[in-house]
Amino acid sequence: MSVQPQANPSMSAASGAAVRLKDRFDIHYDKPLPGLRSPSAAAFVAEDVKTPGSRHFAMICDPKMPPRLEAIRKLQLLKSYGVLTPVEVGAVDWAPANRRMFAIVCEQPLGERLAGPTDNAITPWGEEALVAHIVAPIVQTLLDLDREILPHRGIRPGNIFFRDANRRVAMLGDCMTSPPGLYQSVVYETIEGALAQSHTRGAGSPAQDLYALGVLVLHLLFGKLPCAGQTEEKIVEEKIKRGSFYTLVSEQRVPAGLSELLRGLLVDDPQARWRLGDIQMWLDGRRMTIKQPVPAIRAPRGFEIAGEECETARHLALALDMQEPEVASRMIRGPNFETWITRTLGDKQVVEAINMAFSTRSESAGGAAGQNAQMVSRVLMALDPPAPIRFRDAATAVDGIGSLLAVTMLNAGDLMLPTEILQARLPQFWCQRQGSTKGEDQATIRFFDKMLRFLDDKRPGYGIERVAYEMTPGLHCLSPIIESRYVEQMRDMLPAIEFAVQAKTVDVSPVDRHIAAFMAVYENNVDEGLLYTLISSDPAARVLGTLQLLAYLQETYGPPQVPALIQLFGQQAKPVIERFRSRYTRTRMQTGLTAILKESSLRKLADYLDSADEQRKDAQRFQRARLEYQQTIKQMEKAVQQTQELNASAKMAGHSVAVKIASLISSAIVGVTLFAMGVL
């Protein structure tokens, strides 16, 4: 098999049609396991090379979906038998796709799946067996997950296995390979979850798992999916109008023994919904009282939208969301709306919230239409605070914005929508509307304020890319240069870049905005100043900044040899060497470069090209040379001046010399005469 070991030092080659993960598991891509596959991850046999005969399988995640890294980490710590738990995770070279992909190795469940992934019709379960084999084990698992504050968000028949071959103990299936709740049908989702887009439902809370458990009980009890045959929109509308319990149970008769449980789990108000402790007590045989949820305020006269009479604020929000933003905006600004809200509905909290929605303004790239859409979104939040943020075509839970951004990026979608949601501060408005007494909302507001600062900063290491990596922990680096190398941790970054350079995928700068943002998130020690140099107008500064960043990676994580990158920087060294003013220094640097390139060390190359001592000396010598040049100019000016004054000065000097010579000769004549005459 071809695994390109030069770019993947952490992985050793396995034999046959297999790839080895972290020196422990051989994943056989010629041995698929259709029975264990998830909607976003194909399953294959995985052999533990240290423990032959063990039953493991690997899920190979769809690279277009970000895995739930937080869930993976928590499940690895938890080691619960009641849920599919990762034994080993990591990226592997996946030959069939000719790229690297994220693999999650788990133990194979001994039992089968409760139902096929697409089976809506199931053989009905008896009340006793359902509680004993399904509800009780799942509640125990949810208790384990609750300790780690980890909602599963994938409770449905197609994602439940049995721990034993006799189908006596149910266990939860995969909750790691895709965003939370992605493959849940709207029937299994609370109203809030059902209103959101499937990939932006967010992790939510354990209360959503309990709701799904209630739907599961109904599903297994009657042997068919509740509300089967109805459209998703209709189901959601019915849940809002009639409540989930009545919508899902419909005309069917619920056994008295389960009625209490189902009423407790299918309450739409999360505060009134049963908690795990309540179910435990119910399982222990205690008779529980059903908390009556506070009914929504109903208007005596409905607000009509498209022939639909909306009696509650939540229903009105749903109906407005069905309209085009411009139409909804006109309705909201119309006099009927205000009258209905203030006089007919008469909910003071909603009135205050709508006033706040009208008074909040944000800049929009979309101009007046954009501001209208923002206003509509805020009014929807004012009418239905727990519902997801609904803005234009997006409907996202506040903790699902990361998934929205990641999935949009992974599928090359339009980033304007998530960008505008953040810029309009819609998540902050949503948090303000929750009225929580805990500090969670304030922390979330601060987090989104920080994301907005990152978004508005256009320097490398910031921008929408930084926001995506900050908000989606499992998201691998999406740089077009290295996306196929699935870099999800810093140690894989340099080998991936080296691979890309070898493959000639990159021939200019091997660090782009995605790589810079990824490094800024996962590598705290990176000097931000280096990231800024990536957009410097000076080509030498750009090359040196890139080189210093990669040298840091090589020093910290290896690998020791990166020949392709070294050659690339060798080719790009010209502007760096040209920075030296002295021609002799440039020649010397160019000559010495060959020897440095042979060492294949980015650090040595960076130190060589970016030597502060050498630059200082060059600058000092240049200053001296300039002074010297100025002196030579003065010297030449002086020579010209001397030439001009030469006749006059030479005449004076000549006459002076003549006087002296005459004096000397005269003295000699006098002396000789006196001597000759005998006077001396």
Binding site: R581, S582, R583, Y584, F622, A625, R626, E628, Y629, T632, I633, Q635, M636, A639, Q642, T643, E645, L646, N647, A648, S649, A650, K651, M652, A653, G654, H655, S656, V657, A658, V659, I661, A662, S663, I665, S666, S667, I669, V670, T673, L674, A676, M677, V679
Partner: protein
């Protein structure tokens, strides 16, 4: 007392080494100081000659004949510090000295003076020395000019060479 000329005072280098600057008290040509100095020399010469005419008539006569070149120098000398006089006069006077000594020691008479004058050797000796002074006066500046010209040329060539070398190493930026 006149101040040294400003131009001469700033002279440095080769020209200054030649001590071209006039000494204190030596005025520039045509200046009142130069004229008074020249007049003072004339007065001194006339006084000396008058004294000699009273007590040493032959010597006085000899000097009148012998110092004609010096007198000519006095007439034509318009230089600062009377360089021509100071060049010609010492040589002229020194050439008279042997004849004057001979007069004093042997026949101190006008006849002897005329006897000296009748011999061509006397004229060659007296006027040759003076002529040498004139020659010296006119040749020395030419020689000095030539020497200084060569020295300036060498300095200019050295500066040009250095500029070329600096531009070769540092490029045109070194000019800025």
């Amino acid at each position: 007392m006149a101040r040294p000329p400003a131009r001469a005072a700033t002279m440095k280098g080769a020209a200054a080494k030649g001590k071209a600057a006039p000494a204190a008290g030596q005025g520039r040509p045509g200046t009142p100081a130069a004229k008074s100095s020249k007049n003072a020399t004339l007065m001194l010469a006339i006084v000396v000659l008058l004294v000699l005419a009273l007590f040493e008539r032959p010597v006085c006569m000899l000097l009148v004949f012998a110092l004609v070149p010096t007198m000519l120098a006095w007439l034509v000398d318009n230089t600062s510090g009377q360089s021509l006089i100071r060049t010609v006069a010492p040589l002229n006077l020194a050439s008279v000295l042997p004849f004057a000594m001979k007069l004093w020691h042997e026949h101190n008479s006008l006849d002897q003076v005329f006897a000296f004058m009748s011999g061509s050797t006397t004229w060659v000796a007296l006027y040759g020395a003076a002529a040498f002074g004139w020659l010296l006066y006119y040749l020395a500046p030419a020689v000095i000019t030539s020497v200084l010209e060569r020295r300036i040329e060498k300095l200019r060539d050295a500066a040009t060479e250095r500029q070329k070398a600096l531009k070769d190493e540092w490029g045109d930026d070194v000019e800025k």
